[in-house]
């Protein structure tokens, strides 16, 4: 038995990734999620409009964080602000009690806002839009679509690609008259299609089972979904290029999935995270897909209000997918020479993609 224990430790010591998962990852998770794991929203992004906007804004206390005051704006403008995600709460002032229009798609902020309004002795009357009953399922279903796409894009894709290399068939593909792009597109297209089908199924089933509305533009949703898919598929391909076997690919894919699930705003609201951790959330593609899915399905946010997450996702997709394709291509075509060439013919690439 002792020999078995010693052998196991020897193997573990040389398996750096597993050692990292065992020792480093728990520490990172503890520190990061210790600061991130909070449902308490202390500051709610708030705007105040209407004739008494200045006066009401001055009276508002925490958790309402007044970021803008516009006495000239009316309730229609206030609704537009909320739909476009300019604020989580817009207080509309008039002659009587003020109305706090609350964005129900920001669940935790909305719950906090409603609770705070209830304590205002009737001076602030909450009106929750986009998720009037503050149902958790309404905000979770759009986020779950992103999580499922992440799962297919990273775990399933990376495992599929590593399996090809492990079986030795990747080498066989490299000596067939395929272009590297043929192989890459051929490998990735089925996963893209399956993930896209999954996206539609989850959206439809989510709507049917949980009455989650889809009131926005399907086109924005599809474009956002496609950009997000390219990004996560690219991550999956990248993982496959640095993994020797399916176990390693799964490990790495999980390491990329876990932060996305916990720091993208899917579970813990971004605004309640410590600033030192929140920035990580803004580096994650799922954060932006959730913003697009949420805005499109629940608030019907127009393209003018969604362009930032769309552009960020487009940038991420371009960056990650290009890196993935370049690295994957290296597996199919020989690298540059180990030493400088002594003749022009010797630089000819295998791929023949020229």
């Amino acid at each position: 038995m002792w020999a078995m224990i010693v052998k196991e430790f020897l193997e573990l010591r040389r398996d750096r990734r597993t050692m990292a998962m065992i020792i480093v990852l728990p520490l990172v998770l503890l520190v990061v999620f210790g600061y991130a794991a909070s449902f308490n929203v202390n500051d709610i992004s708030t705007r105040v409009v209407g004739p008494r906007a200045d006066q009401v804004a001055a009276e508002l206390r925490g958790p309402f964080d007044v970021e803008g005051v516009d006495p000239a704006a009316d309730e229609a403008a206030a609704r537009d602000m909320l739909r476009d995600g300019d604020a989580d709460v817009v207080v509309v002032t008039g002659t009587g009690p003020s109305t706090a229009l609350v964005d129900g798609s920001q669940l935790f902020s909305a719950q906090t806002a409603v609770a705070a309004a209830a304590k205002s002795d009737g001076r602030l009357r909450p009106d929750v839009l986009y998720n009037p009953d503050l149902k958790t399922s309404w905000v979770m279903v759009p986020a779950l679509i992103g999580m499922i796409l992440t799962f297919i894009g990273t775990i399933i894709t990376s495992i599929g690609l590593v399996r090809e290399r492990q079986a030795g068939t990747l080498e066989q593909l490299a000596v067939m008259p395929f272009r590297p792009s043929d192989v890459i597109v051929g490998k990735i297209a089925p996963y893209f299609v399956l993930a896209a089908v999954d996206m539609v199924i989850v959206a439809v089933v989510g709507s049917l089972l949980f009455d989650v509305p889809f009131i926005g533009s399907p086109l924005i949703f599809v474009v956002g979904g496609a950009l997000f898919l390219f990004t996560v598929l690219g991550i999956g391909v990248l993982i496959s290029t640095v993994s020797q076997n399916q176990g390693q690919a799964t490990q790495l894919a999980l390491m990329t999935m876990l932060p996305q699930i916990l720091l993208s705003g899917m579970i813990f609201p971004l605004e309640s995270m410590a600033a030192g951790v929140r920035w990580i959330g803004y580096l994650l593609p799922l954060t932006y897909f959730i913003q697009i899915a949420n805005g499109t399905m629940l608030r019907a946010a127009p393209i003018s209000a969604q362009w930032i997450p769309l552009v960020v996702l487009a940038g991420m997709a371009t960056l990650v997918f290009t890196a993935a394709v370049l690295r994957f291509r290296r597996d199919l075509a020989p690298r540059r020479r180990a030493t400088p060439p002594s003749g022009p013919e010797r630089t000819a690439p295998l791929a023949g993609a020229r």
Partner: protein
Amino acid sequence: MSEPLAHADGVTRRFGDFTAVDDVTMTVEAGEIVGLLGANGAGKTTLIRMLLGLVLPSEGTIRLFGRPPSRETRVRLGYVPQGLGLYTDLTAVENLDFVAHAFAHNGLPETSKVAPEAGGRLVGDIGLGLQRRLAFEAALGHEPGLLILDEPTSGVDPLSRTRLWDTIHVQAERGVGVLVTTHYMQEAQQCDRLVLMSRGRRVAAGSDADIIGSTTAAEVDPAADWSRAFAVLDAAGLPVTLAGRRVRVADTPPERVRDVLAAGGVEAGVRSVPATLEEKMIIIERAATSGPSAPVASTRTAST
């Protein structure tokens, strides 16, 4: 004279400070079977990978069909890797169909002899012999001009091995150039020409008769106590081999063998016989290992 189908000209491949292939020149002409022989780590697979275009040489040039390896040359290339390169979770027909589409030709599954035998089973569920025949069919379906086979008969029974070699000969008779690596000396003798590699270098080339040349072996009289004779000669550090009950010592004068046996208390007759190819390889390998200028000295391993 037409260009060889495959031509490695002074190719060297280094991986860091390890030289897997060192200044090797070889050709494969149309209609000939060239055997690439060498111990594990001799550089055979790296040389093949360079010929296939999977690895670029650090020095020297590779030409296939008179030009550098490219997508165009791959259309005329048939390759059976050691691992076969089949999709084990597809059926035989599905594998053949995929290859047929990859090479943009039709009819492969229809004319297959293996597919009916394999039935609708997944390739992972059929025997290794059948898998190898399937890999051959897949590699030959597009009628390649050059066939590269990396240990094509490894792990198959003698009957299947004979069948596969029949296929290789039929292809060569049709004008296909064949480059084959093997560990089996009987198979090496079926080749028209051999290239022997040791520690990354080409150490001999030609027919088996050319390579063996005048090298002889000392054979101990089989009537003697062969097990003791073997033990004594082995203990003396001689390149002793055993074929059945025949104890042989390559490249060693019979007198020397007789003396060693006598010193070990074994009285036996010893005669000089022509060396076998295997014995010649042992001699070459021992010289490369123990020689003062071993060509590529390194303890690192690499996929060769």
